[in-house]
Symmetry: C2
Subunit: 365 residues, 2 copies
């Protein structure tokens, strides 16, 4: 039962078992062990059985580094996110990892914290670790930094928009449609004065969301004055600061659309602090539908962008770039749908007839 120490190298971790240990124990060559492990169909069933038994007995685990070295593929993926402490990303990471592992890949996660130097180091490390592909799932990234990955023809996946280049696959989130759903929901209830709290406008994805908002407003013949367009930073603190700015306005906008849920959550806090009621005085709509959203007071109305969909598309797109015989090898764009989730943070604007009726109902119960 004890592990045979056929290997005499002084550097190896004691207890590490190599293919040679298995081979000698099963009385076959290392080639046969390799073939059995990789389920090559031509191995004699009896030998295969002996090999597997030996593997079991000595507790053999193939060394991934050696495999990677000879195969040129590490079966490792890189996942770059903006900020791991923003609750949206852990949800995404979890889904991504689950799917990647299912496909036999391991994941290196990196968080840029919006810092170009960090991002650069992240990418260099991923190159060095020989990841098979990288998914850049940030709110935006400096394009020069990913240039290295592009040059080396690494399979790459971007959200929203990346450099339009071969070997790059895009996950297109339908902001146009998503934000429109939110704006139309508000407009349908009678809101005309809708403010927007954006993400940091140096980031592509933040700009894309803001532009989608302006377009949706224009479609309805509505405009947003400059003081209704406030820049946040996709964090709760940013949402609080932005909402405080809006709350100082007179008249108040009757609704606020936010670039993401953390911003909306910050906005809810700011409104509570300034003793404004939601949705009676002002409606708040988020974007993402993170887990936390449903637990807000009131529960947050938001545009859902499913992490599961995003992660699934990202893994598929990477595999399409990595595995030569992948069925969708030629596909370069994946559409990510969005969906409005109406909860309690949005309602009729103050003073409107439905609001009075609704208010009366609420008061009664």
């Amino acid at each position: 039962m004890s592990i045979s120490k056929s290997n005499s190298s002084n550097r190896r971790r004691p207890g590490a078992v190599s293919i040679r240990d298995v081979a000698s124990r099963a009385g076959v060559s290392i080639a046969t062990v390799s073939r059995a492990v990789n389920r090559i169909p031509t191995v004699d069933p009896e030998l295969a059985r002996r090999v597997w038994q030996a593997i079991d007995e000595v507790g053999y685990l193939p060394n991934t580094q050696a495999r990677a070295l000879v195969s040129g593929r590490s079966r490792t993926l890189g996942l770059i996110v903006s900020e791991i402490t923003n609750p949206f990303f852990p949800e995404l990471i979890q889904e991504f990892e689950n799917l990647a592992v299912e496909q036999g890949y391991e994941v290196f996660v990196g968080s840029t914290s919006y810092d170009p130097a960090r991002t650069e180091s992240l990418i260099r490390r991923m190159l060095q670790r020989n990841v098979d592909g990288v998914a850049v799932m940030t709110f935006g990234i400096e394009e020069e930094i990913v240039q290295k990955l592009v040059e080396r023809e690494f399979p790459l996946v971007f959200v929203d928009a990346g450099p339009a280049l071969p070997n790059i696959r895009l996950l297109k989130v339908d902001y146009g449609e998503g934000i429109r759903q939110g704006v139309q929901h508000l407009a349908a209830m009678g809101h005309r004065s809708i403010a927007f709290i954006s993400g940091p406008l140096r980031l592509r994805s933040a700009v894309a969301r803001r532009d989608a908002f302006l377009k949706s407003m224009a479609e309805l013949g509505l405009t947003a004055p400059a003081e209704h367009m406030v820049e946040g930073n996709h964090s709760m603190e940013g949402g609080i600061a932005a909402m405080e700015q809006l709350a100082a306005l007179s008249p108040l906008p009757t609704a606020v659309m936010c670039s993401n849920d953390m911003t909306a959550i910050g906005a809810l806090h700011a409104l509570y602090r300034t003793t404004h009621t939601v949705p009676e005085e002002i409606s708040v709509v988020g974007f993402d539908d993170i887990h936390l959203a449903q637990f807000m007071l009131p529960p947050l109305t938001t545009v859902q962008m499913s992490c599961k969909d995003l992660a699934a598309a990202a893994v598929e797109a990477l595999r399409a770039g990595i595995e030569r015989d992948h069925p969708q090898a030629a596909k370069t764009e994946w559409r990510i749908p969005t969906r409005l989730v109406v909860r309690r943070s949005s309602g009729f604007p103050a003073g409107s007839l439905p609001a009075l009726v609704h208010g009366a109902k609420a008061a009664r119960k």
Copy 2:
């Protein structure tokens, strides 16, 4: 400027550059390149310069897998957490990664989701990837599962308590002191009827926290009746459910201590929903001090367990186990201090004199 394709293998990623490319370009042997890269002091400065120039020109990055194969060390650490979607862990992961990277390590993060099968697969994968050490930073883990790691003499770090074995290092969070700080804070304000919402009691760390609570109460001559000891699951949902149970009690406990912040946050929500005021009717104290805690309404009083301290100790402890010449190679325990952070979710119990005075003050402003 273009990369010399001295290497003819068809399997390599186009654009990948090996040590041989650098050697031929610099007109030296691969050994010299290796020495230069590893900053061996004996290399001729002029040659070193040529090597570095060549490295720069061809964009060489040493292949980590090959390095790992020959050195027997992957410069990779495993970090196992309970649930990446619990906000405490991303904060910990971020700190851990920063420190690990600073020391030249890469990190594989794994989330058990309290699922033994997942945990087992996680550990097998980490073994296979040849991580140099693993930090198990969960609320508790099935010990048989980590047995494999123990057998193979992997450097291991546990929080709270792990099997008492050689090669295992422990991060001792001072729950006794931490929970005591919370309980004494409440008792000092006059609370006598203090409930406790624990984590899942099949987990070591949850039990440790609950025991610390009971001990702190006993020290003050206080007891907690069975109906004041409710089991949660360290999530917001668990906190909500547990608090709803407590809220149905009559009389209500005047204070609730929670096993972690997410539980406390859930408790705050449940209290809001059942229209109880915090801290006037009931005080709530958390444990962890996650970022979110300060943004609660009211801001959460909590016992801080610094992620930074935890992460720093974990990385140090792992290095002590991995690097032979590490100064603290013999150290096996690291103490993690805790600290009470008083915010607004705790106050004097209802009906007490200070509460009346304080209430009057609050009403005045």
